[in-house]
């Protein structure tokens, strides 16, 4: 499954959207489906509708900065997001997103490229290449460890397999 491309329609989200705006702290303990209702809900309503109906976000500079809570990443997963491209992203948000099985690719060039809500892109995780119609953007290649975690579905799935391997090795 590693390296499989991700294709789909995008929602554009602006720059300097903090993780507290992706999902405010007060919603951290909600069940995933309810978190999805609130994801990016502090922004105009079409943003929430967009991320719940299209699998990819093109996010501006510093998307997810600030708090290291994982609930914003869980909320994006619950909303059906498969990949986030753009940034650069805050490091804890980046890790939380990939640990929830959502690919994140630093690709500042796609931000402000004129790409619009509903446009379709195709992402190659291994190379970081992102195709939009005739254009190709060169994002950061995804390290093998992150590809494995995302391909597993989440760090939890990855961890379950790792523990099983450790148990086999010691028996």
């Amino acid at each position: 499954m590693m390296g499989e491309s991700i294709k789909g329609a995008i929602t554009v989200v602006g720059e300097f959207v903090s993780a507290d705006i992706v999902l405010p702290a007060r919603y951290s303990f909600l069940p995933p489906a309810e978190m999805a209702e609130h994801v990016l809900g502090e922004l105009p309503a079409e943003v929430n509708r967009g991320v719940r109906s299209r699998p990819i976000i093109v996010a501006g500079e510093a998307f997810g900065y600030g708090t290291g809570r994982e609930s914003p990443a869980r909320a994006l997963r619950a909303a059906g997001i498969k990949a986030i491209v753009g940034g650069p992203f805050a490091r804890m948000f980046f890790r939380n997103v990939v640990n929830n099985g959502v690919l994140a690719i630093d690709c500042a060039d796609i931000v402000g490229s004129g790409i619009a809500n509903g446009d379709e892109i195709e992402i190659n995780p291994a190379t970081g290449g992102i195709r939009w119609n005739d254009r190709v953007f060169h994002g950061m290649p995804t390290p093998a460890i992150i590809q494995k975690i995302v391909a597993s579905g989440s760090l939890i799935e990855y961890g379950r397999a790792a523990l099983a391997d450790m148990a086999r090795a010691s028996s």
Partner: protein, 420 residues
């Protein structure tokens, strides 16, 4: 061949069982110490969903409840119950009940964070531990569950940038003003994926509490961590307090840095970060007079004994302005005890402050001290993005304890040096 290493590289090399590491390579590490707080409940979820049954090295794990205490709803209360049961069953080294203090503060004052250690914790302000020469890095909750289950995780070796400080602060200027200046210069992701190492002749003049303020707000420039290399100040603090053996670490003189900022401390002014972003710093004198409704002297950034002493010094024989609410939250119970004994808490209460239990309080944005639409909070905490304190229609400004106290008296943003 010897490879010159920074403090962070030395710590990561040891924690990954190697002689040296180079920036941007990915290494697998075994942390020396981990801690968490209320959000540990999600780490427990992850741990159990991975099929794990026993925590690797529970004797190197601690939980300290701090985000929402005393609890205001049954759901959070049940989460706390689950955490208490988990730490008992897993025989964690220690558990600190809500009210003990903010986890970062408690880990420092009780000697769990020691020089040269690799510390992981499920909170973005984990870098605070760099005040003691540890490499302290924030993780998500799933990731902490993974570390509990396996004893390991992966890290990308970050490049280090250094902030070299010379000279001395002028009267009425604090570490917070310096770090707000640094955040303004670098921007909110200006040190993204990097370590900030604080160096220069002025470093030895900063106490552990002040170093904590610097490292804590290193998170606000996106840094993976901030660190003060171990020196005599570090040693004086940890000696007799450290829970684990330790070895202080310092960069080699010829280590490589990805960037450098130099600061003359004599030039630093009292600073305020204007609403919306931590890098919107201006001199307090330039924004003086801006209306405020609430003042928060609290958080892991600035609510220690020295901070409360500065605030009390300004509020002694003065009153909080009738249009302002002053909320005071000592960073820990130990801080509260010392500030009660030295009279500072009484001074603050006499001035009209409201005292709240030690914890994250207003800064956690979910529990206490939420602002109304259009209201403005002046805060000694670390974050002021929209919604941080629970209402996106309210504004937050960040400042030092002196500016907070002076402004609470005046009823508007005020440079403490101008108070008559």
């Amino acid at each position: 061949m010897r490879l010159a290493q920074t403090t962070a590289e030395k710590i990561l090399a040891r924690a990954s069982g190697r002689d040296f590491v180079v920036p941007n390579e990915i290494v697998e590490v075994s942390p020396d110490f981990c801690y968490s707080h209320d959000y540990a409940v999600f780490a427990i979820d992850a741990f159990e969903q991975m099929g794990a049954t026993s925590v690797v090295r529970p004797e190197r794990n601690v939980i300290c409840l701090d985000h929402g205490f005393p609890v205001n709803n049954a759901r959070d209360a049940n989460n706390h119950v689950r955490i208490r049961e988990f730490v008992k069953k897993q025989e964690f080294l220690a558990f600190f009940e809500g009210g003990t203090g903010i986890a970062h503060q408690v880990m420092m004052e009780r000697g769990f964070v020691v020089p040269g250690a690799l510390v992981l914790a499920s909170d973005s302000h984990t870098p605070s531990g760099g005040a003691l020469g540890a490499l302290a890095i924030g993780t998500g909750e799933s990731e902490l569950g993974f570390v509990w289950a396996t004893g390991r995780t992966w890290l990308k070796v970050p490049p280090t940038i250094r902030v070299v400080m010379a000279g001395a602060l002028t009267r009425g200027v604090a570490a917070k003003d310096v770090v707000l200046t640094i955040v303004k210069q670098l921007g909110v992701l200006g040190a993204g994926y990097k370590i900030i190492e604080y160096q220069g002749d002025a470093v030895s003049s900063f106490s552990v509490s002040e170093r904590f303020t610097f490292c804590n707000m290193s998170a606000e420039v996106g840094a993976k961590s901030g660190i003060f290399p171990s020196d005599d100040v570090t040693e004086a603090f940890v000696n007799g307090r450290a829970q684990f053996p330790y070895m202080g670490v310092r960069s080699d003189p010829d280590a490589n840095y990805a960037g450098e900022i130099t600061l003359d401390l004599a030039q630093i002014e009292p600073m305020v970060a204007l609403p919306g972003r931590e890098d919107r710093g201006v001199a307090v004198s330039e924004a003086a007079g801006k209306k405020i409704n609430q003042v928060f002297i609290g958080s892991c950034t600035n609510a220690r004994v020295d901070d409360l002493a500065i605030a009390a010094g300004i509020l002694r024989n003065r009153r909080v302005h009738p249009d302002v609410r002053l909320l005071v939250v000592p960073a820990s119970r130990a801080v509260g005890i010392e500030s009660a004994r030295n009279g500072d808490l009484a001074t603050l209460l006499e001035a009209g402050a409201t005292l709240m239990p030690s914890g994250c309080a207003v800064c956690a944005g979910a529990h206490q001290g939420v602002l109304g639409d259009g209201e403005v909070c002046l805060s000694t905490s670390n974050r002021n993005m929209p919604g941080r304190m629970g209402n996106k229609n309210a504004e937050i400004m960040l400042c030092s304890p002196a500016t907070a106290a002076a402004s609470a008296v005046a009823g508007c943003l005020t440079d403490a040096r101008t108070l008559d």
